[in-house]
């Protein structure tokens, strides 16, 4: 089979790639290969699905009409197993071969499985939390085995979102986290404490600075987990969520250069001219860190997919880099965070913070050279997005530093010259 544009992966990067290509090239054949069995779904919503807040149909962020309108050939249930770079061809798991002119690799991430003693003996009851069909199996398992309590290893974004879904189902949850705080990538001690308290009020217990060293099974189903601290927790369902890493299976053994992820330039090209990459498995320019990094978040994948699409279709567009940002609401506490929120060397940064006890309200701003490089908003998240603009524009905030944490923070505390264009209504352009 031949196609002009071939996309491996049917998630957000792939979808935005399709949109960008079609803006420029209305006719060129687009083929998408997905190893899942569903036309379209938003992966971050699987925790909402677990919690019963959305149905499978409601999880789609583009409908069937989208693929039809854009004349996309969607191949489901097929994994791309090999890329033959010199021959511009890929091999699929079913044996099929597809020839391409331009290729986008957006195979996303895969869960990290830490070595745990005895895990190979467990046949049932251990799950990761990244794919929809996995969640379906998880739900079936819960119902079939009348599970009432779950152990979740890892209090990162995935572990916590999974926890929320489980709590919404009425289950009790034990979280085991290696770091000294939950959501360690984003939170500091204070933010972690607030959320731990909120979780504690909701049938969830958090054990920090600990990990699972051994598991035991009974009749092939998981029965206990033993922690490094020595504690034993009877567990009939274990979710492992210690992190994801770029899914590089399809590029292994090819001449495509990788580091932690597939390396791409500012046009989303790999070192092979007609092969592009976007999304959770790429290592691209990071705006804040001023080097390349893997930025596995939705908006980045969308932007990268879009830029890749433009470039693949012949319209040159540069990727200016994004920075880490997260929005997550757990047990009723909304949190939005940006950039460097917990520098390992705080003495080199200026940190402003404010918290209101009893209100789950916490705000923290991290500055370097009078420029915002990170922020946490907990509890009150209105206007938080303004900070994304301040970080991006590298605005010198010394003239209004005192106002950064004020209740009426808004565009009006910004210098008149800077906000004039924003207030006037020019709109955001890259």
């Amino acid at each position: 089979m031949k196609t002009k544009y071939l996309i491996i992966g049917n998630s957000v990067a792939g979808v935005y790639c399709i949109e960008a290509i079609r803006e420029v090239d209305k006719r060129g054949k687009i083929t998408v290969v997905s190893d899942e069995n569903i036309i379209n779904y938003s992966r971050p919503l699987i925790s909402y699905y677990l919690g019963g807040r959305v149905t499978k149909e409601e999880m789609a962020f583009r409908d069937e009409e989208f693929y039809r309108e854009n004349e996309v050939q969607l191949i489901l249930n097929r994994k791309a197993v090999r890329i033959l770079v010199e021959e511009n061809r890929i091999e699929l798991s079913g044996g099929e071969e597809i020839e391409f002119e331009k290729l986008l690799i957006s195979s996303g991430g895969e869960p990290i499985l830490p070595p745990i003693e005895g895990i190979e003996k467990v046949k049932e009851g251990v799950f990761t939390f990244t794919r929809l069909e996995e969640v379906d199996r998880l739900i079936d398992y819960i119902q079939a085995n009348k599970i009432e309590e779950v152990t979740v290893l890892g209090a990162g974004l995935i572990g916590l979102k999974c926890t929320e879904g489980l709590l919404e189902r009425g289950l009790r949850v034990n979280i085991i986290e290696l770091a000294d705080r939950i959501l360690a990538n984003t939170f500091d001690q204070e933010a972690s404490r607030i959320l731990e308290n909120a979780l504690g009020r909701k049938n969830c217990r958090v054990r920090k600075e600990d990990t699972i060293v051994r598991v035991e099974e009974k009749k092939g189903k998981i029965d206990k987990v033993i922690l490094r601290s020595g504690e034993t927790i009877p567990t009939r369902l274990l979710v492992i969520a210690v992190g994801v890493r770029p899914n590089l299976g399809v590029v292994k053994g090819t001449s495509i250069k990788c580091n932690r992820g597939v390396l791409v330039n500012d046009f989303m090209q790999t070192n092979i001219k007609n092969i592009y990459a976007a999304g959770d498995m790429t290592e691209a320019k990071d705006f804040l860190l001023q080097r390349k990094s893997v930025l596995a978040i939705w908006p980045t994948a969308a932007r990268q997919g879009k830029i890749a699409g433009y470039n693949m279709a012949g319209k040159k567009k540069k990727y200016n880099g994004l920075f880490i940002m997260n929005s997550v609401e757990l047990v009723g506490v909304p949190t939005i965070s940006f950039g460097i929120t917990n520098p390992p060397d705080p003495e080199n940064f200026e940190i402003l913070a404010r918290k209101n006890e009893g209100e789950n309200y916490y705000r923290k701003i991290v500055l370097k050279d009078n420029r915002i490089v990170g922020a946490i908003f907990m509890g009150k998240i209105e206007r938080a997005g303004i900070f994304s603009g301040l970080i991006r524009d590298r605005l010198d905030v010394s003239s209004f530093k005192d106002d950064l944490l004020s209740d009426d923070f808004g565009l009006l505390v910004l210098p008149a010259e800077y906000r004039k264009h924003m207030v006037r209504g020019e709109g955001f352009t890259e």
């Binding site: 789609a60 939705w298 997005g385 006037r424």
Partner: protein, 162 residues
């Protein structure tokens, strides 16, 4: 109001030097998005009062309103997990489908103007200016007593209500 719906791209411009801080724009935004479109009924009647798509900021003598800019490169579109935020093909405006929204607040995180309001009770985005797509002329522009809010076309030329 009539049947004439807008089908050409247009944008709202705020001139903060003329904003009196009266907040009548908010009042009329609420009326325009209410069920009855009648100001007394919208405020005192039985129908649920909609949230205005306007953020009002004031400090001392400086005041202005902010609405969704319907940006050409809208960051909220790329941040939306569910496709609730979408761009209307005819007018180019960024619109929000409440039914699809799950209240993940990614758009609030992404919007550099901070003009999207969360509704924590309903777990959805409460409001976002839709540039009065159902009306001939945006309500806030029509009712600003000091012409601090004006409407312009794609070229930046002012559009006045006939």
């Amino acid at each position: 109001m009539g049947d004439k719906k807008i089908n050409k791209p247009r944008r709202i411009i705020i001139r903060e030097e003329y904003c009196m801080g009266c907040r009548l724009c908010e009042v009329w935004c609420i009326v325009a998005h209410s069920k009855s479109k009648d100001i007394i009924k919208a405020y005192k009647g039985q129908e649920p009062r909609p949230v205005s798509g306007i953020y009002f900021e004031e400090r001392g003598a400086i005041s202005f309103t902010l609405q969704c800019r319907h940006c050409e490169d809208a960051p909220c579109l790329e941040a939306c997990l569910t496709g609730a935020m979408y761009r209307d093909k005819k007018t180019g405006m960024v619109l929000h489908n409440k039914d699809k929204c799950v209240g993940c607040w990614m758009c609030i995180m992404a919007c550099p103007y901070g003009v999207i309001k969360p509704d924590f009770k309903e777990k959805k985005v409460a409001s976002k200016c839709d540039l009065c797509i159902e009306r001939e002329f945006p309500a806030c522009v029509e009712h600003c007593p000091n012409e601090a809010i004006i409407l312009v076309n794609k070229k930046g030329e002012r559009i006045d209500k006939e």
